[in-house]
């Protein structure tokens, strides 16, 4: 078991990673690194290979080929000592229904063998009612279970948080609180690796994003750099009720030249968002299954 990790190595480094389930190639040779203290959004539609990649990072799935390392230690050999530095929230969260919320957090806290200094702060930030802590998890709503799951990932103040679709089941207010929690955690120097197919929440908190589609990384960059290549979207409305949308990265003059003017009644021009970038990179204009 290796518990000593390098402080200057990338928090996450993935090199030519491949994961195959029988005949299905879920991850096809991806490469990326996440630096310490960074919030990294891992974006892609359902079935793109996000969860498979995350499972490799936690040694829950052995890769078919390639290497995944955390803080300079290969995941495969890092063992429990390496996982002690991680906090994990799975996409399909299944807590033990016979335990109460408090027992769940206590049990996992003991498995980590670490104090849980952030438990109260996280539950308070999410607005989880203290009175519900002694109710069985089976009686919780989906959102409450997700809150306990988030507390479980954050409670021991890990150096690296791996969160798979963390906002699933959260209402908009709690989602905002959660994103605030991510920002606060990153400000303390912890790294956050967060998968999602909800673009808006990732572009609000992530320093960089990696876009994965059909098992391949189609782009890794800062949000600003990705947007820079696709600076604007023009939405055109015509007399007959038609609406057209043009994504353009050329000069303003070129854009105006491209616009068919006959019957045009209105033009709305706005900066490209991450969804536009993703659309252009992977699926033409259909968005590749991503939600705003």
């Amino acid at each position: 078991m290796i518990s000593e990790t390098s402080t200057c190595a990338p928090a996450i480094h993935v090199h030519e990673l491949e994961v195959t389930y029988g005949a299905v190639q879920a991850v096809r040779g991806i490469d990326f690194s996440v630096q310490p203290g960074e919030v990294f959004g891992f974006l892609g539609p359902n079935g793109a290979g996000k969860t498979s990649t995350i499972r490799v990072l936690l040694d829950l799935q052995r890769p078919t080929a390639g290497i995944a390392s955390i803080h300079g230690v290969e995941v495969r050999t890092g063992g429990g000592g390496l996982r002690r530095e991680l906090g994990f929230l799975p996409g399909d969260l299944d807590l033990f229904p016979s335990l109460t919320g408090r027992e769940t957090l206590d049990f996992f806290g003991r498995l980590y063998g670490l104090p849980t200094p952030k438990r109260s702060a996280v539950l308070d930030a999410l607005g989880f009612p203290e009175s519900a802590m002694d109710r069985k998890v089976a009686e919780y709503s989906t959102g409450m279970r997700q809150m306990v799951g988030i507390a479980l990932a954050f409670q021991h103040a890990p150096r690296l948080l791996i969160l798979d679709e963390p906002t699933t089941g959260l209402d908009p207010l709690v989602r905002e609180s959660f994103l605030g929690l991510v920002r606060e955690t990153a400000a303390t120097g912890a790294t956050v690796f967060m998968s999602s197919h909800v673009l808006s929440e990732v572009q609000d908190v992530a320093d960089r994003v990696g876009l994965i589609h059909e098992g391949r990384m189609v782009g890794v960059d800062t949000i600003e750099n990705l947007r820079r290549g696709f600076p604007r979207r023009a939405i055109l409305r015509y007399e007959d009720g038609r609406t057209e949308s043009i994504l353009d990265s050329g000069s303003p003059a070129d854009l105006l030249d491209r616009i068919p003017r006959e019957g045009l009644v209105d033009i709305e021009i706005r900066p490209a968002d991450l969804k536009d970038v993703f659309r252009s990179m992977v699926e033409g204009e259909d968005g590749g299954g991503l939600r705003e």
Binding site: G80, G81, L86, F88, F96
Partner: protein, 272 residues
């Protein structure tokens, strides 16, 4: 973190204490019931015995031991078919739940994302199974002694030999638990693990029954774990006192090999 994780052990106890205690108490209840009906049963012994030769063999009697004798009757908690099935099932309860059950449900990812090692998880389940084996063995032992006390036949019971039988029953239970654990490690979910374990438990039980009823087929008993618990051949003045000890050694050695197999298989699984 030690090889056996005490926190996971506590979790397993909390989760399975009711079903495990019920299973462990069943042979005890069986012994008490035998104690209650034995005085009546022994009065009809001569009439019933000639009619029930096959039945005697079915319930574990042998040329050494008449099940209508006090000694024979109070071996029932160790060899009644229901007790034998419970010896097999009690260890399978935690094994089918973890790892297979949690793998299918999604809880295994949460457990193995913690510092808990895969081999430690298997070792902890195995250690818990050994406790359950001891519990059900104690249940059978207590049932035999309580029943004999209730029937006023205490003096006929070799307490020391029954204590060895208790260990033999515990070893049988641990062995079946280890079989269930190997199945569980290879299964994708609880229902798959339960189905496979059920087939093994009842399939081998039928083989054992055949070995009891078919005189020339006694060797079949050696093909199943059940065949290594033979109270009728190991207690009483005609019994082979060393047989139970030999059976314990064989069962524990097999269990250990199965536990190592389960741990290695879990560690090398591509998907947790």
């Amino acid at each position: 973190m030690g090889f056996v994780n005490r926190h996971l052990f506590g979790f397993l106890w909390r989760r399975h204490r009711l079903s495990a205690s019920t299973c462990a108490l069943a042979p005890c209840v069986l012994g008490v019931l035998v104690g209650l009906i034995y005085p009546t049963l022994s009065g009809q012994r001569e009439a019933a015995k000639s009619l029930l030769k096959i039945g005697q063999r079915f319930f574990g009697g042998s040329q050494h031991l008449d099940l209508f004798s006090a000694l024979g009757a109070f071996t029932m908690p160790f060899q009644h078919p229901v007790a034998l099935i419970l010896f097999a099932v009690i260890g399978a309860i935690p094994a089918t739940a973890l790892p297979a059950g949690e793998r299918g449900r999604g809880g295994l990812d949460l457990l193995l994302a913690t510092p808990l090692e895969r081999r430690s998880l298997v070792a902890t389940v195995g250690c818990f199974q050994s406790l359950l084996g001891f519990m059900i063995g104690m249940g059978a032992y207590a049932g035999a002694l309580l029943g004999a006390g209730l029937a006023g036949e205490w003096v006929h019971i070799p307490v020391g030999q029954f204590l060895v039988l208790m260990l033999n029953a515990a070893a049988l239970s641990f062995c079946w638990g280890s079989v269930a654990l190997v199945v569980s490690v290879h299964a994708s979910d609880r229902s798959t693990a339960m189905r496979s374990t059920f087939i093994l438990v009842f399939g081998f039980f039928l083989v054992d029954i055949a070995s009891r009823l078919w005189r020339e087929g006694r060797w079949l008993g050696n093909l199943t774990p059940y065949g290594f618990l033979r109270p009728a051949d190991s207690v009483g003045p005609m019994g082979d006192a060393g047989l139970a000890w030999r059976n314990i050694v064989i069962l524990l050695t097999t269990s250990l090999a199965l536990q190592i197999w389960a741990a290695k298989a879990e560690v090398t699984r591509a998907t947790a």
